[in-house]
């Protein structure tokens, strides 16, 4: 177990107290009366076996066993973070923010690998997470490959294959020094981004996701590489769908 997890486990008294250390939890859940308006408006509740009202209810029980089960479940990974619940809750609660805090600790405690949807955080880390550190962009043309994104269609494939010609006609400065859209972000700026990740716990979270995923890959007997997306475990977490999530 890494030091980050040990520190968290050692210092906490119970899961509710742990969740309460995140300012978003204090802000997101004050006095839920379980009216269910959040569930009525929720796009995820319409698509998945998902009920944000029930999540708030479970958290409010302060029951360690129930909260731990939640942290290990698929349930907390169904939310799409549209924040419609924020707009509608008559008491100003934000179930989507509570979800974010549950997801944070599910990862920090290494519980996320115990659910199919939780394990997908490895795919998110190896794509968006690594893009931020390596390029300074969450998403960049070069990372949206037609192979991983067939739904983007033939115009995107054409754009992707002619990226510099197309993007620069539209005013970009594709992968070049200087300013403008899609410019190559300089090492000096990327170094500061990386240092921010190091001092704020961002790098520690990445390492926790990597370490837990490596262990999980071994348990599942799937190939694992330390970098990139061309390995068995990445594709498993990126593509696997047990079809057991919808209503």
């Amino acid at each position: 177990m890494n030091t980050f997890v040990e520190t968290i486990k050692y210092s906490m008294k119970n899961y509710y107290e742990l969740l309460s250390t995140d300012v978003r939890f204090c802000e997101g859940l004050t006095a839920c009366m379980n009216c269910g308006v959040c569930t009525a408006i929720c796009p995820a509740a319409e698509f998945y076996k998902y009920d944000p009202r029930q999540i708030c209810n479970t958290v409010q029980t302060r029951d360690d066993d129930q909260i731990e089960a939640l942290l290990k479940s698929d349930t907390i990974w169904y939310c799409g973070q549209c924040m419609s619940c924020k707009a509608r809750c008559p008491r100003g609660n934000v179930p989507a923010m509570v979800i974010s805090v549950l997801r944070r600790f599910s990862q920090e405690l290494g519980f996320f690998t115990e659910s199919e949807k939780g394990r997908q955080q490895f795919a998110v880390k190896r794509t968006v997470g690594d893009n931020i550190i390596n390029t300074g962009y969450c998403v960049h043309i070069d990372s949206v490959t037609p192979k991983l994104h067939p739904e983007q269609g033939p115009v995107w494939k054409w754009y992707y294959e002619n990226a510099e010609e197309v993007a620069d006609r539209l005013g970009a400065n594709y992968n070049k020094e200087g300013g403008g859209a899609l410019r190559k972000i300089s090492k000096e700026n990327l170094d500061e981004v990386k240092k921010i990740f190091d001092v704020t716990g961002g790098t520690a979270l990445y390492e926790q996701v990597e370490d837990s995923s490596k262990v999980q890959a071994k348990l599942m007997k799937l190939g694992f590489d330390d970098v990139g997306t061309n390995n068995e475990y990445f594709f498993h977490t990126y593509i696997e769908n047990s079809e057991n999530h919808q209503k």
């Binding site: 995820a44 998110v124 995107w156 970009a172 300013g179």
Partner: protein, 358 residues
């Protein structure tokens, strides 16, 4: 009923700075619709005479990583603080994030600092430790669509075209879709709030069009962050877009107008996917409903070349809309690259009809 709506949305006004902006670019828009960011800067500088800085030292706000929960909140707050520090380096106080997700993130971060001063102090300490930098909180944070909305009347004076069918003289019928994070997180930071989104509707009405009020108007486009980023989850994303298009279909919109990069892309691309999967399109001609950004729309009406705005990088083609408005365009210029050379034509989808012969 209209009276009640007008009464309520008028309560949701916001302060939008007049000039001297720091522009924070969007990862998605730079990648998918770079022409829209180019058009925004051109409109502000050339049409409105404003000062806006496009800083080469900027980077992502981490918003997509934050809402897919791979980036810690402390990290996101400190990354935002570095971007605010860059704004201060340029001696500016008005922050303009191009992306609606970013707009939501910056607003959330500043609201957090206002309510929890210890979080602000923690962020200052983190930024200092990581970079040696200090920062000031912006005096004004406005989304680019706020600024175009603010100056919609001035822009109308310069426009060559209106949102009117030039053959029939009737207003074009438009679905507007504001991104969820524009108004649903902090409704008092949105023109019209979360319930009566006015920022795009105001542009449409001012420029001669008619806004369609349909049942799922406020429903999410379906991005869902991790629900799209991971291939296994994309059913969530396409299902939500489908719900919106099924709801708007009977109102026969001429096009969809959005202010969020993700929404523009998903409402465009998922029409292709739904057509290929189910043989279904939501218009009468099998070509889909064009989805435009507000800069593309403003640029078109101002007389900019559609292919310099980037309409060719949308999967749903827009020639039918250009023809309705009466905008002249050169088909031979559509697939010309930066070098001035023809760079080939995209393949044709099997079901969704397109204007090119790839």
């Amino acid at each position: 009923m209209n009276t009640i709506k007008k009464h309520f949305w008028n309560e949701y006004q916001k302060e939008i700075a007049n000039d001297n902006y720091y522009y924070e670019r969007s990862c998605i828009r730079q990648s998918f619709f770079p022409g829209s960011e180019t058009a925004f800067l051109k409109i502000l500088r050339d049409e409105l005479g404003k000062k806006i800085i496009d800083d080469q030292h900027q980077h992502t706000c981490t918003g997509i990583g934050y809402h897919s929960d791979i980036v810690q909140f402390d990290t996101t707050m400190t990354i935002c603080a570095r971007l605010f520090s860059l704004m201060s380096d340029n001696e500016l106080k008005n922050f303009v994030p191009s992306c609606v997700t970013s707009f939501g993130v910056f607003t959330e971060v500043v609201e957090t600092w206002n309510q929890f001063p210890e979080e602000l102090e923690k962020t200052r300490k983190f930024l200092r430790e990581a970079t040696g930098r200090e920062f000031k909180i912006p005096e004004n944070i406005a989304h680019p669509s706020d600024i175009i909305y603010k100056y919609r009347k001035e822009l109308k004076q310069k426009m060559k075209y209106q949102l009117v069918n030039h053959k029939t003289g009737k207003p074009l019928r438009v679905v507007e879709h504001t991104g969820c994070h524009y108004g649903k997180i902090f409704s008092h930071h949105a023109v019209g709030g979360a319930e009566f989104p006015q920022v795009l509707a105001g542009m449409i009405e001012e420029w001669g069009g008619e806004v369609i009020d349909y049942p799922e108007r406020r429903h999410c486009c379906g991005f869902g962050f991790r629900q799209y980023l991971v291939m296994a989850n994309r059913g969530y994303s396409v299902a939500n877009t489908k719900k919106k298009f099924e709801s708007m279909e009977e109102y026969k919109p001429d096009f969809v107008l959005t202010n969020c990069p993700g929404c523009t892309m998903f409402m465009d691309r998922w029409q292709y996917t739904i057509a290929e999967m189910e043989g279904k399109t939501y218009d009468d001609n099998g070509m889909g409903i064009p989805v435009l950004t507000y800069e593309e729309l403003a640029g078109l009406l101002l007389g900019y070349n559609p292919w310099d705005l980037g309409l060719q990088v949308h999967q749903v083609q827009s020639e039918s809309l250009l023809d309705k408005i009466g905008i002249a365009y050169d088909p031979a210029d559509k697939f010309i690259g930066k070098s001035g050379k023809f760079i080939g034509i995209p393949e044709k989808p099997e079901i969704l009809k397109v204007d090119y012969d790839g």
